[in-house]
């Protein structure tokens, strides 16, 4: 396979999770000179497009280093992010990794759905000799550090709180559980796969921690002082909440707050995000109609993880498999984040920044 020399340090493989974003992206590319295409027309072609680079990213550390990367879109249609399309989606991810290899890029993060190939040990792409990561360690770190900060800000103590983790048997859910199990009053675990949940719950119980588990959120939510949602599902409903519960929504799609309109005292933020303070530029810059965050230069933890590894020249498979994220790695990657001037994102949700941010 031919390999180019692009001089790029990292690549991000990802996908879009809604058609509104795709419509914005395509119509920004078309520019105002051409008639905007409706979603119906874009859908006709979108998922036929082979994975390809969309834009470059340039990052600067306050320590003086700069690194450049490439965003590679898989062109998986948002409504095909389901088990029915697993085989074709896996092929698209493989094609995207092959494209990354051809561009001579030494390190790649598989973001969002695409991380499934690494988490599920479906493929580690060893044949390409590239470093691969899911980026889940830094996402988990930002979720946890966000929770710690919110708890302090609300005048609570973590060790007095019970934390409910929705999506507890996923890689990030397990990392959060393992990190928080000894630092909180107890953990409440919720996941869809009963057998896997039972196994994980028993393990935490056998370690001597207070733990309850259920496949039903409402059986656990009434006891939770903190809720972390890291599940990928559009039908998560939360009820029976304590009035002052703190919620970190780090799942996709983010729609918890829509279901919490009758709970004005709930403190909900979108977690797993960092803020790059010393330069985070895109070329071409499609963010004008596409960037939907209420603060500048926010990025997903998973993407920032590969940026940090590139800044540190650490060509390694930092986060692969499932359940391998240790407390030490969470602290290490978070320390690297701060070293390179990348902080936890300010608290925000679908209504904008929290008033005190």
């Amino acid at each position: 396979m031919d390999r180019q020399t692009t001089g790029l340090d990292f690549a991000v493989i990802g996908h879009q999770d809604n058609w509104a974003n795709i419509r914005s992206l395509i119509n920004i590319m078309r520019t105002d000179a051409l008639e905007a295409l409706p979603v119906s027309k874009i859908r006709e072609v979108y998922d036929y497009i082979p994975p390809r680079a969309i834009f470059r990213m340039h990052v600067t550390s306050p320590l003086g280093m700069t690194r450049s990367g490439l965003y590679i879109e898989t062109f998986i249609a948002p409504d095909k992010l389901t088990a029915d399309h697993l085989r074709e989606n896996i092929q698209k991810v493989r094609d995207a990794v092959a494209a990354t290899y051809r561009l001579g890029i030494p390190m790649v993060i598989l973001g969002g759905f695409t991380s499934l190939l690494l988490e599920g040990n479906i493929d580690d792409f060893r044949e390409y000799g590239m470093a691969v990561t899911t980026g889940n360690t830094l996402t988990a770190a930002y979720v946890i550090k966000g929770i710690e900060k919110a708890v302090r800000q609300e005048g609570k103590r973590l060790r007095d709180c019970r934390v409910l983790i929705i999506g507890a048997t996923g890689d990030i859910g397990m990392a959060c559980t393992n990190y928080l199990k000894g630092k909180t009053k107890g953990v409440l675990l919720c996941a869809r796969n009963r057998a896997r949940l039972e196994r994980f719950g028993r393990r935490i119980e056998n370690e001597g921690h207070e733990v309850k588990w259920s496949t039903r959120i409402d059986e656990l939510s009434g006891s939770a002082d903190i809720i972390i949602s890291v599940a990928s599902s559009s039908d998560i409903g939360v009820s029976h909440l304590k009035g002052d519960v703190i919620i970190c929504d780090a799942g996709y799609p983010k729609n918890l707050e829509e279901k919490l309109k009758d709970h004005p005292s709930v403190k909900l933020f979108h977690g797993g995000m960092g803020q790059l303070h010393h330069g985070y530029l895109f070329d071409p810059d499609y963010t004008t109609g596409f960037y939907r965050y209420p603060a500048e230069h926010l990025g997903h933890g998973c993407i920032i993880e590969v940026i940090l590894l590139a800044l540190e020249n650490r060509l390694e498979n930092y986060t692969i498999g499932k359940g391998n994220i240790s407390e030490e790695k969470i602290e290490e990657i978070y320390a690297l984040s701060l070293k390179h001037g990348i902080t936890l994102a300010p608290f925000y949700n679908g209504n904008g920044l929290w008033p005190d941010q």
Partner: protein, 245 residues
């Protein structure tokens, strides 16, 4: 996989199959004429001979399609002056008149062959039987033209990456805009002048095809070909996004 059974005795099926053959024959004759014109633009005697050989190959493809149509009693309408084919051909001749061999290769062997290989493959698999064998065999030969062009154009790109990509971009919008209008699910530029009655896109379902899939697969092959030539993805995605739809 669900099998789609085609009843070739139905008039609506015969009509759409006739239109498919009419388009294929017209396209092959356009290809033949393009290669013949290309032969005149080339100085290198080996390339000149190869262009003539390709023209002859396209002629044989057209004859193969015509022979089957005759045997099957399909009335075909050959019209190289049909709206879209005429515009594509004019684009090609503009570059041929300037002795721009590389531009001619891009139009004929990348753009038109991407559409031919993909659509022949889809049509062949849908029609089955002798049509399938014919369409797939011709698609294989057209794929060889595509492969030949990739090696040549990779070499051109390596000589002047910026200049080559700029040139390709110009040709893309001149030619792919026409093919994109031609293959859009709604007939953006009016009647093609080849189909017998109304636009066949409305009738493709009679043979288990749909216009969106044909177009999607053709653009997929075109995009993959651009990748293999070495056109940066950041460029080609914008080119594709800007096509009429």
């Amino acid at each position: 996989m669900e099998t789609f059974q085609i009843d070739f005795s139905l008039p609506e099926v015969q009509s759409v199959v006739s239109d498919i053959y009419s388009q294929a024959i017209t396209g092959e004759l356009v290809g033949m004429s393009n290669f013949a014109a290309l032969a005149g633009t080339i100085d290198d005697p080996h390339e000149k001979m190869e262009a003539v050989e390709h023209a002859d190959s396209e002629r044989k493809h057209a004859e193969g399609f015509m022979a089957y149509a005759r045997k099957a009693g399909l009335p075909v309408n050959i019209n190289m002056e049909g709206a879209y084919w005429k515009r594509v051909r004019r684009q090609f001749l503009n570059y041929a008149d300037k002795n721009d061999f590389i531009a001619c290769v891009i139009i004929q062997e990348v753009m038109l062959e991407s559409f031919a290989v993909s659509m022949y493959t889809d049509a062949g698999k849908a029609l089955g039987g002798e049509s399938e064998r014919l369409f797939l065999a011709i698609a294989d030969e057209e794929r060889e033209h595509l492969e030949h062009s990739i090696d040549l154009l990779k070499h051109e790109l390596s000589k002047d990456p910026v200049g080559f990509v700029d040139k390709f971009e110009e040709i893309h919008f001149n030619c792919m805009n026409i093919l994109s209008e031609f293959s859009a699910t709604t007939d953006l530029g009016g009647h093609c002048g080849v189909c017998h009655g109304d636009c066949m896109k409305e009738s493709l379902h009679h043979v288990g095809l749909e216009a969106a899939t044909l177009r999607g697969n053709a653009l997929k092959l075109y995009a993959s070909t651009l990748d293999r030539i070495g056109i940066p993805g950041e460029k080609s995605i914008v080119w594709i996004a800007k096509l009429p739809a």
